[in-house]
């Protein structure tokens, strides 16, 4: 096949300094090592994490080391492979697991690489995909089945978060509350629905997001400002509460409410990241209740990817309602603004020229 020759330099959206903002720069195309792959980025999507980095908030100041290239949700075409790479070829259309696990720690050696002690996240701790090219270790590449709609390629990362969260425990025939309907919350509704959840309660203050939740398959839409919310859920579950809580907001009050809605013996999977410690009534929320709680980080490597692929390809899970905007990479300012204002759900940034 004929691929474009690889240039010496490329356009990249950089975090240039330890200050708010990002900017487009011309930078060298990365060199790849023997076990790496170079991918020509087609599309990258914007995550809430990128917004934190853009605004240079407290978390970003502690974690991010500028100058570097953010962006960890993407798809593209393999442009070059290192000389020890097997099973990935130039021309493959791919996405990638951007959590690069160390391969040596207890977690990596016992089936828990998603919580590697020494993980580096491309796009957070090292150069990412907001650029024409990105370097990825070959073992982290996920080849996209041609039957997957091309638009969904960059969404495997957040969709995989949702799959990991929903499938961290039984879901078939279970009632479910999803607290927070950002993109991952919305995806989790679609996954729960596709996997036989009994009845899905979407809890979200933003009306536009509640509409999206409906499109993704939520059965009941609830506004947390509604004083009767808890009674409504109890009434709709024969007084039991929900079997499963999927916490996607990271908001303290949503977390507390979610646990109040959880039935005795239920399961809570927590993905949303609170920005500071949360006061929680552990006795009643969790202990007396005999609840099981799963902290969710990333995607299981690579069980989650197989599941995500199967749900989209074989069961037709449709991510398209979540894609609210498409912009070229250099209109990133506009993208950040749309996210900030809650006007957008998932924004695809077109990178390929």
């Amino acid at each position: 096949m004929t691929l474009q020759p690889i240039p010496k330099t490329m356009r990249a959206l950089m975090k240039p300094t330890a200050a708010p903002g990002m900017e487009m720069r011309e930078v060298p195309v990365p060199h790849i090592g023997a076990t790496d792959v170079l991918v020509a980025v087609d599309t990258a999507s914007v995550c809430g994490t990128d917004l934190h980095i853009f605004h240079w908030d407290e978390w970003a100041q502690a974690r991010i080391k500028p100058p570097y290239i953010p962006g960890h949700e993407f798809c593209g075409t393999v442009a070059a492979v290192g000389n020890l790479v097997q099973g990935v070829s130039v021309g493959d259309f791919v996405s990638a697991e951007m959590h690069v696990a160390c391969g040596h720690c207890l977690q990596c050696r016992s089936g828990q690489a998603h919580v590697c002690q020494f993980v580096k996240i491309l796009g957070v701790d090292a150069d990412g995909a907001f650029a024409n090219y990105v370097r990825i270790p070959a073992s982290n590449i996920w080849k996209l089945d041609p039957a997957i709609p091309r638009d969904f390629g960059s969404l495997f990362d957040p969709f995989g978060n949702a799959v990991h969260t929903v499938l961290s425990g039984p879901i078939a025939g279970q009632t479910v509350a999803v607290t927070g309907c950002g993109p991952i919350g919305l995806f989790s509704i679609a996954v729960a629905r596709a996997c036989g959840a009994a009845r899905i309660f979407a809890i979200e203050p933003n009306a536009t997001r509640r509409d999206l939740a409906k499109q993704l398959g939520a059965d009941v839409l609830l506004n947390p400002s509604n004083a009767n919310l808890e009674q409504q859920v109890m009434d709709a579950t024969h007084g039991n509460g929900v079997d499963v809580l999927l916490e996607m907001s990271g908001h303290p009050s949503a977390i507390r409410q979610g646990f109040r809605l959880l039935r005795m013996g239920g399961r809570a999977s927590l993905l949303g990241i609170p920005s500071r410690p949360v006061e929680l009534d552990l006795a009643n929320a969790l202990i007396f209740k005999g609840a099981t709680v799963h902290g969710i980080n990333g995607r299981k490597m690579y069980e989650t990817w197989y599941q995500a692929e199967a749900l989209i390809r074989d069961r037709g899970v449709d991510l398209s309602p979540v894609i609210t905007h498409r912009l070229p990479l250099d209109r990133f300012d506009e993208a950040m603004h749309l996210l900030e204002n809650g006007e957008a759900s998932k924004i695809l940034l077109t990178v390929r020229q």
Copy 2:
């Protein structure tokens, strides 16, 4: 509410003697004890087990003690309740778990009542539901949600077998082979589909049943007489084989083929009952493969019933294609004949007058 007064006698389809056949008889309506419920049977359905009893085969001769009333799949209206019964009322429309567990053995006391050592099955070991009235311990009653289509009421027993089989391990995103498409096999296809199975291979020699498998949601229909079957499944699973085998036939060759189709590290759930010992290449079918095998008996009490209810009521799982015939109870001879010839899948016998 006004229920008919309970008569002294009733019509019942009996197994009168230790010989082939059944016959309609006028018999006393059963008396109920303090913790029992009397149900006026609305509909009963015919199970393969009933055919064994009808024909008085080897299994039946060893297990069945005539005279008695067969029939273990039914729904009806509660006509009377014992004086210690709580939570079940006259007029409730119900089905029942016909495996009456002892309540005292290790299994009953540790969450495994479905494999009670001293179980008695109503309709097999004691009087069942092929009659105007049936006596059931109150704790075995399952109240049917009004949102459940009335026709599906008698099918909770075999549908529950399917739910128990499919959900005995992970199913979301998994490729599945179902060997044998009798009613439970067909139901298992519907359950797997509703619970996010990736791709479902239905393996069945009878063309009519394969058509039903298609209606219930199978993705690929295969005739075991097809010499390329195994290669087709391998090709369709990237050479892996299937993640999950649901064995519903009890036929030795189907069991052996099913295990050959199972991928390394896969899960096999066996519900079909072979009529004699089976020669199996344990080393390759199971041990080297690191497979997990679940023997499936009955329904979990009552997790399976909750799951079955949710899948029908909330996710719209449709059992109606499996109901191929409806006959009045006294045309049981015709029903047995239809089943025997493979012309019928599930036959509903109308009992209410």
Copy 3:
């Protein structure tokens, strides 16, 4: 066999009014219903809960309805059985599960009776065992194997808490931190040890309790006031942290420290009850860590009882170091005082005359 005739009245340690204290009273022997058992109490032991009730603290004021008889850890001899009781006979030496589950709710019908929505706890919500006789539903009776040391009979309740906590996840070959070495913490050390835990860190401020922890099988004794504690645990676990946290204290700082010690991907089982909401860094304690957290309530009915029996009878788990005092029932004031001052671990009250 010859049992004493059952008298009309008995001595009971009562909570007579909504105020601090308890007192010995002469009260009627309870009548039993058809499915109940009357047990002549041999020994009762004192739980921290009883101390709350004695002192009439906030929790007690909200939950307890005097006058009634406390006491929920006991053993004794069956003195009478109701006329529908099977499998329990006069003369049997027994203990009992004092959580009386409703039998009808979702939890009770799906293998989670230990978190029954409508549970009543004998000795908390209804008359308990600080008396010559106690009435128990027959299904809650646990017959004590004669091979079990008689002294351990009243300890199945708290020992069962420990068994439930430890065995709520994998334990063999796992490193374990136990935060809080009251009786249940101590028992959990013995259970973890008997079940193959790799290395057990006992964290407890009270030196006497640390000595007991050593006797029960802890490998490393740590005082939470030690500023190097966390570093020591990290060093002893190759920098990983512990695989399993068993939280037995309910103290906010111990909970927070326990989670800091927990490795990425670890399991925390929480049994200690905080008296008010706890501020917890959910992001780092739990979510990024991909931890699994189990709230633990009571004992699984009756899996935990079988496990507890096996560990004591067959593997010789020795509870005796935890029994620090034996007193007659009417010296309850002294018992409460000893517990309050941290001088005692488990106190057995002798009830039989």
Copy 4:
């Protein structure tokens, strides 16, 4: 540190041709690649598989490609490392996982590398450890903690088989039958004992092995030729049968008997390899019983290794009774003879000069 310089040639016990027997040869020391390690073998132990290879039976004829060096149980000292190797150093005392997984298949990418579809076993499919030096991929190296008795180093492979088998399901508080007391059966007794098994029944025709079973911790020793065996196990388990079957023999009659001993709802883990298909009453052995069966292959990578290390190092599991003989490598003929005659359990071959 000072290691011997690596010579050009070495002594190796070879399978030289497609015929019975093995012989000592002088051969080149293997070259290592960038991600490999060269280990100077200290001790190798003999597995039943080696006996099959020695005798050139049907299985060996189908699998083995002479000339090559057998031997897959060993320990030794790292003599050289490839230039990309991290975390393994010259001088480390190590053993290794000899199942070399492909790293690319579904199983390898989803936490099931122990059932890799394309596994190569060093010592079976490629050169192994019956030699002065062996080449191992660095990622398969297991560094032996200095606290592990040196003699146990070569036994991690078969001990790991036992650990994998025993811990493939719950074991604490469970009654266990072990059918077949070769080395792995014996190790499984020690593991079950260390992990809280309630009562262990060792079933083995050879009296010497039964004696070893006693030393390893079996509670009841049974000869399968004893006509009362099944009744004895039933009596000792209150008529229930055992909770767990660990099948270590591969003998059809032992497999069938093991399943008859298994309780309703029990777990069977099968490791012994039958040499041909086995006739099994699936209906009664497995399906009606609601049993769970695990096929066991190799060791989980590397969960099993961590567990094995912890049980030996921290809980003092003692493998020494199983080591019945020590011989220099060139007395391999004698070793094969001892194994063949059932006079030996595990034989250590000393390789270091």
